[in-house]
């Protein structure tokens, strides 16, 4: 649905719950420079959620939803896990897929959207947990990248299966003991960012969600590159505070500690040559637009 169609029938406006009225009145659908700074001054595309209090996944959701460049023409694909409990409260079209199938669903969806809406930008963004992306769904994840499917894959890496009580995942650290993995992990954290690069992703970032401005940047880059060139992958550390024994207030510090230069979530980025060129073109256009706006403002003054 394009944003022009997001209107409430006048005769029934007063009975619409206020969250829908707010979405129509003050959400940032269609705003070109939307971003994390809109949080607080406009209606967010997420209502209440059912994550644990203080779960960093909720921050990640808010920053991502504020930063998607084209939310009214974006379809998100989720998978089972803590993230799937949030999607019913998200005001962006989304599909829940069978656990692990998210990248297969997204492949078909992206292709169908290009046939159904030729000439119109339609973004597809997968958002799933590490169990869905790296373990049970690894086949679908990799095959989509091999095929150069044009969508973004975001993995909320909390280093275990949180929603089912703490089982071992491929992205768990070596030696980690979880509630339902008492022996401790015997092998290393799977190096999915490197695998993503080797599998054909044009933009790969590994980071935490401690900084909203950084999330805005990587989301915009990932979506634009996927739109024009090919698959992109973001691995975001969203620690499961419940499973690592932290309090609600401690998620942010946990992320800050884990992104230090020697730690496993130190910022890591890979950009392919065609993607670098695209980002340079987009930056140049942006600069031009800002200069034109500045000139206009000075003429009007």
């Amino acid at each position: 649905m394009s944003k022009e169609k997001i209107k409430i029938s006048e005769a029934l406006y007063d009975i619409m719950p206020s969250d829908y009225q707010d979405l129509v009145k003050s959400a940032t659908y269609g705003k070109e420079d939307r971003g994390w700074k809109d949080i607080g001054s406009s209606k967010e595309l997420i209502e209440q959620h059912s994550l644990c209090a203080g779960c960093p996944e909720s921050m990640a959701f808010r920053y991502i939803l504020a930063s998607l460049p084209n939310p009214e023409d974006t379809v998100m694909v989720g998978s089972t896990g803590c993230t799937s409990l949030v999607f019913p409260m998200v005001a962006v079209h989304n599909i829940h897929s069978l656990f692990g199938n998210q990248n297969a669903i997204a492949s078909g969806l992206k292709r169908a959207l290009s046939v159904r809406f030729p000439g119109r930008t339609k973004d597809v963004v997968v958002l799933a947990g590490d169990g869905a992306t790296v373990d049970i769904g690894l086949d679908m994840t990799l095959q989509a990248w091999f095929r150069q499917e044009k969508f973004t894959t975001i993995c909320f890496d909390n280093e275990l299966y949180a929603n089912t009580g703490g089982q071992e995942s491929g992205l768990m650290q070596k030696g980690f003991v979880a509630k339902m993995a008492p022996v401790g992990k015997l092998f290393d954290k799977v190096r999915l960012p490197e695998i993503a690069r080797e599998s054909g992703c044009h933009y790969v970032v590994n980071c935490t969600v401690s900084k909203p401005s950084l999330i805005e940047k990587v989301i915009r880059n990932a979506v634009h590159i996927a739109r024009e060139i090919g698959p992109t992958y973001l691995q975001l550390y969203t620690p499961c505070i419940l499973e690592i024994g932290k309090n609600s207030m401690e998620g942010l510090q946990e992320m800050r500690d884990s992104e230090k230069p020697t730690e496993r979530f130190a910022y890591k980025e890979y950009v392919s040559e065609p993607a670098k060129q695209l980002l340079a073109e987009l930056a140049a256009k942006d600069k031009e637009k800002k200069a034109a706006a500045k000139q206009l403002a000075s003429q009007e003054a």
Partner: protein, 211 residues
């Protein structure tokens, strides 16, 4: 012809899809009551009676009329409002008509506010909370309406009416088909026509939806 009848519940936890019990949809110009095909006029009369009998007659407008995605949708919304206003004018003291929206189909966990909305994935919350004993769906996509109507039949004693824009709903106790502005207005006329001739269920022990 099927012996199964689509009646107010509570039927049980998983009532069968009425279609699987042999209930058929009406042809153009017809409707069904309890799964039996009738003329459209008979259905207007029965729907108006059910509304006037109910303690809390309620209209549930769905996304296809709540959102002005084309001109026709906005006109239907105006007709729905007119029907609701007519109900308010025609009921007796003690009856409280309601107009509760179903803005979309997201399963909306952890909760909805049953006072201001209905969700097709757990419609009984709104029906129980407001003690709704007769309701009409309008502007709800077929698959969601069928799911919701079945849940209502399974867990409540609410009488369900579908004003369907397509071929009708087997899972409602009464269903129109090819809903239009004219049909909604005609139902409002029938409510007006029967005003004062129907005894409300106010004192009945079975009034209100059971849970």
């Amino acid at each position: 012809m099927s012996q199964y009848r689509v009646l107010p519940g509570p039927e049980h936890f998983l009532p069968p899809a009425a279609a699987s019990m042999g209930i058929q949809l009406p042809n153009p110009g017809e409707a069904h009551i309890n799964g039996v095909i009738v003329s459209e006029d008979k259905a207007y009369e029965e729907a108006a009676k059910q509304f006037l009998m109910a303690k809390v007659p309620t209209i549930f407008p769905g996304p296809l009329v709540l959102w002005a995605w084309n001109e026709k949708a906005a006109k239907k919304a105006t007709a729905v409002r007119h029907l609701y206003n007519t109900l308010k004018e025609c009921v007796q003291p003690g009856q409280t008509p309601m107009l509760i929206p179903m803005p979309d189909y997201r399963p909306k966990y952890p909760k909805i506010n049953p006072e201001v909305e209905i969700n097709p994935n757990h419609p009984n919350l709104t029906i129980w909370h407001n003690k709704i004993d007769c309701c009409m769906f309008i502007g709800v996509h077929c698959h969601q309406a069928n799911l919701s109507l079945k849940i209502i039949r399974g867990g409540t004693s609410c009488y369900t009416i579908a004003m369907c824009a397509q071929a009708g709903h087997e899972d409602a106790m009464l269903s129109f088909r090819d809903a239009s502005v004219e049909k909604i207005m005609k139902l409002a006329e029938w409510v007006k026509k029967l005003k004062g001739t129907v005894q409300p269920r106010l004192t009945s022990a079975k009034s209100g939806a059971s849970n």
